[in-house]
């Protein structure tokens, strides 16, 4: 049941991503990308991961807002004049090879519906007793693997800082005048006026 539903959903996602990749208009491309994200969120819900589904919906909305901000007000025209034959042909050959080897490698994975649960069994059995959290996923991200979440927060902080610096409207102030005035250091001309030329 779940497998059939996921199969249909994955076909839907693949069609959506083909539209997102090949359509000429940038805005429809962004919206098709949003369709793929919504389907991914439904798939998470079917796979027993409600936390991930909620996060995916929120992140999806933010991605749409950011990308529409980037595309809608400025350039909405398609770029179609040049067609890089070498890149297209070489990537198609590479991806054909990749899919062949992926098809072979996928046979070695544990089959769908029977995961290896060596570590997770321990978490499921002792999570409530050790951490007091009813949600085992929350117990893992906040207690068992708290440093991972700390690293995540650091990455988010650095990326927000980076986009803030890049998108900042004004540049840095000119150092010679503004800084000396603010701190109260005398400028070179004032020093020369008060004390004479010190270098002699």
């Amino acid at each position: 049941m779940v497998e059939t539903f996921l199969f249909v959903l994955l076909i839907f996602m693949i069609v959506g991503s083909i539209i997102a990749i090949e359509t000429k208009n940038l805005l429809s491309s962004v919206i098709s990308c949003g369709i793929v994200g919504a389907a991914v969120s439904i798939a998470f819900l079917m796979l027993g991961a409600p936390d991930i589904a909620i996060t995916q919906v929120v992140v999806e909305i933010l991605i749409l807002v950011i990308l529409i901000r980037a595309t809608i007000t400025i350039d909405n025209t398609a770029i179609e004049a040049h067609w890089d034959t070498f890149a297209v042909v070489s990537s198609l050959i590479f991806f054909g090879l990749f899919l062949v080897f992926a098809f072979l490698a996928v046979q070695e994975l544990p089959p769908f519906g029977q995961p290896l649960m060596r570590v997770s069994k321990e978490y499921l059995q002792t999570g409530l007793q050790k951490t007091g959290a009813a949600n085992v996923v929350a117990a893992i991200i906040l207690d068992f693997r708290g440093y991972d979440t700390l690293g995540e927060a650091t990455v988010i902080f650095v990326s927000i800082l980076g986009s803030f610096v890049i998108l900042r409207r004004r540049g840095r102030k000119r150092r010679t005048e503004a800084d000396t005035e603010k701190v109260g250091i005398l400028s070179e001309a004032e020093i020369r006026e008060d004390y004479g030329d010190l270098r002699e």
Binding site: L6, L10, I11, I14, S17, I21, L26, S29, V30, V36, V40, A43, F44, L47, G48, A49, P50, D51, I52, T55, Q56, I63, I66, L67, A70, T71, D75, I79, H82, D84, L92, F95, F98, L99, A102, V106, Q107, L109, P110, P111, F112, G113, Q114, P115, L124, G127, A134, N135, V136, V137, I140, I141, R145, D148, V155, S159, G162, S163, I166, L167
Partner: protein
């Protein structure tokens, strides 16, 4: 099996968009699709047949949860990965907006001067 393979097809299409397209926004969309595909692949590997979400409800024993709950470890890792994907995307988009201000285009082949 076929589900894993379809997820990898989605991954390949994202990477194709990343390599072969000229528009920078298209490249960002390709990276986003790649991101989705990898997250979905990891979650699908952790699914257990007839599984329930790994959350304790009121009238449920721990034995029941350990018997039927899906793998919670990939979910915790993917939760981190999704949010990091958002941070990377916002950084890329801000760089693209700056590039547009300077060159007046999103076309990759016209943005060829590295400095100046």
């Amino acid at each position: 099996m076929i589900l894993y393979f379809l997820t990898l097809v989605l991954f390949v299409m994202g990477v194709y968009c990343l390599i072969a397209k000229k528009n920078i926004i298209k490249k960002i969309i390709g990276l986003t699709i790649t991101d989705y595909a990898i997250n979905l692949f990891i979650i699908i590997i952790g699914y257990r047949a007839k599984g329930i979400a790994p959350i304790m409800f009121k009238n449920m024993t721990i034995q029941e949860l350990a018997e039927y709950g899906v793998d919670p470890l990939p979910q915790a890792l993917v939760l981190t990965s999704i949010v990091i994907g958002l941070g990377v995307l916002s950084l890329m988009t801000s760089i693209c907006l700056r590039l547009y201000e300077k060159y007046k285009t999103f076309d990759m082949s016209e943005i060829n001067r590295l400095k100046g």
